[in-house]
Amino acid sequence: MTLTKKSYVAQSVEKMRPSGIRKFFDLAATMEGVVSLGVGEPDFVTTWSVREAAINSLERGFTSYTANAGLLELRTEIACYMSERFGVKYSPKEEVIVTVGASQALDIAMRAIIDPGDEIIVVEPCFVSYAPLVELAGGSAVTIGTTGKTGFKLQPEQLEAAITSKTKAVLLCYPNNPTGTQLDREDLESIAEIVKKHDLLVIADEIYAELAYDQPHTSIASLDGMRERTILINGFSKGFAMTGWRLGFTCAPEDISRAMLKIHQYAMMCASTPAQYAAIEALQHGMADVESMKKDYRQRRNYMVQSFKEIGLDCHLPGGAFYVFPSIQSTGLTSEQFAEKLLLEEKVAVVPGSVFGEGGEGYIRCSYASSMNQLQEAIKRIGRFLDKQKRSAM
């Protein structure tokens, strides 16, 4: 008698695809001398004063849990920061929750609002976790693909067309990973109109808000009538170069915050205590360092866009984040083929646009969170690679 082994894994998880980035990571990790443009985190180490604040908190023995929503001192700093920086006002006591990275913030946001069958509109290309998180929460992700022709900006007509009677919320991420696209106030206003007309909620992943280079970031929650229908998600990972600390936060109206806090309290208890003390220091005294990192990123962005144009890849000028998203369509390769060939032949790691969903095919994501020396070397190698492609096509 043959027995097939019973699987204990939930079917919903079984059928989820692992992150597409994983495959390249595994391949790249085995190689020597790789120049990586594949990294989605700052190359800067967290500012010393911020690290020192965490050390100090440990020395003083602050090693217990904090309130579920996080240290009130930190929530107060966050509320103050959000108000000064983006003109949105939240009550530190009722409307701010400190989370384990923006990722956990996204998770509690989804779980707090999704009833079975609810549709969440996800605008692609986007961060790889959005659709899986929607589905894990029992919702279904309805994707909209944006294109290079519109600079990867969500078009109001596209949004209008994707809305059904089951639509609960729209998930937006600007400045965007992987395209670096930023929406200006007018873009956001036309989206907000539709959201209000259909009485929807917006989950705004604004983790790259601090990294906007040409004009300051506009938070959708700051628009007329949007605060009551927006869950803002932000954190310290990108702007403050604190990825490994895992510290993010949500700002949302009181009823939604209360719902999210229930999940957070059962699933997480609270965010890491030393990280919270570090974050207080970051908000109180770290802004000058953020500005100086931003200046470097801006120079690198300009360098990358211009260099890609020079070596023959079409590339729009992204307003924020630390990614450029050049088109590789002229090579005739798919983005996955391009990335794999480039890695094997020239040892440069980039992420194929296709892993970020609809609209990403034909593009590659190149992070410029690396030193100028590394970027120069990468450009040199990619240029050589493109020449070789051209010659072999002749």
């Binding site: 990586s36 985190e41 990973n177």
Partner: protein
């Protein structure tokens, strides 16, 4: 001299790494190569860009015996020329690598580089202390260089990030 935003940005880039080429700087700040080259030439002429040099960690060299001392010097300023005259008499010595006028308990901070402790001792006792305006000197020898001009000498910075991440 009034510097515009682009000029300041060029200076900041070169201060971090003088080997950046004009073509790359042009891309970084969104202007043309000729404009960058021209700006740099002008800033050199105006002595806003004083000099280009290389930071060398001589301690890495076997049998390196060179020493650096920082000397606090109290002086009597002179009518009409203040501290400038004595400062000049001091900075003209080629073994002196820097001279600053300081606030606080002493007046001039003088850095001296020599091949040995003896050489510096001789400089202080024979050249520096004997100057008319010099009232007193306190010599501090550097034992180890950890950080200089914003660069950390000891550590090799490694990139610990995973190669590809979302």
């Amino acid at each position: 001299m009034k510097l515009n935003e682009k000029e300041v940005e060029i200076l900041e880039i070169l201060q971090k790494d003088a080997r950046f080429e004009a073509a790359d700087i042009a891309k970084m700040i969104g202007t043309s190569e000729t404009e960058v080259a021209e700006t740099i030439r002008r800033l050199e002429e105006e002595k806003v860009i004083v000099h280009y040099a290389t930071l060398v960690d001589w301690a890495k060299m076997d049998n390196f015996t060179g020493v650096t001392a920082m000397i606090d010097v109290k002086v009597t300023p002179k009518r009409g020329v203040g501290f400038d005259e004595v400062a000049e008499r001091i900075y003209r010595f080629k073994e002196v690598s820097s001279v600053y006028l300081m606030s606080g308990v002493y007046d001039l901070s003088v850095t001296v580089e020599g091949r040995s402790m003896n050489e510096i001792a001789r400089f202080v006792s024979e050249k520096l202390s004997t100057l008319d305006s010099v009232v007193s000197t306190t010599t501090h020898f550097q034992l180890k260089k950890y950080k200089h001009d914003g660069m950390i000498y000891a550590s090799k910075r490694e990139d610990n990030r995973i190669v590809v991440s979302p």
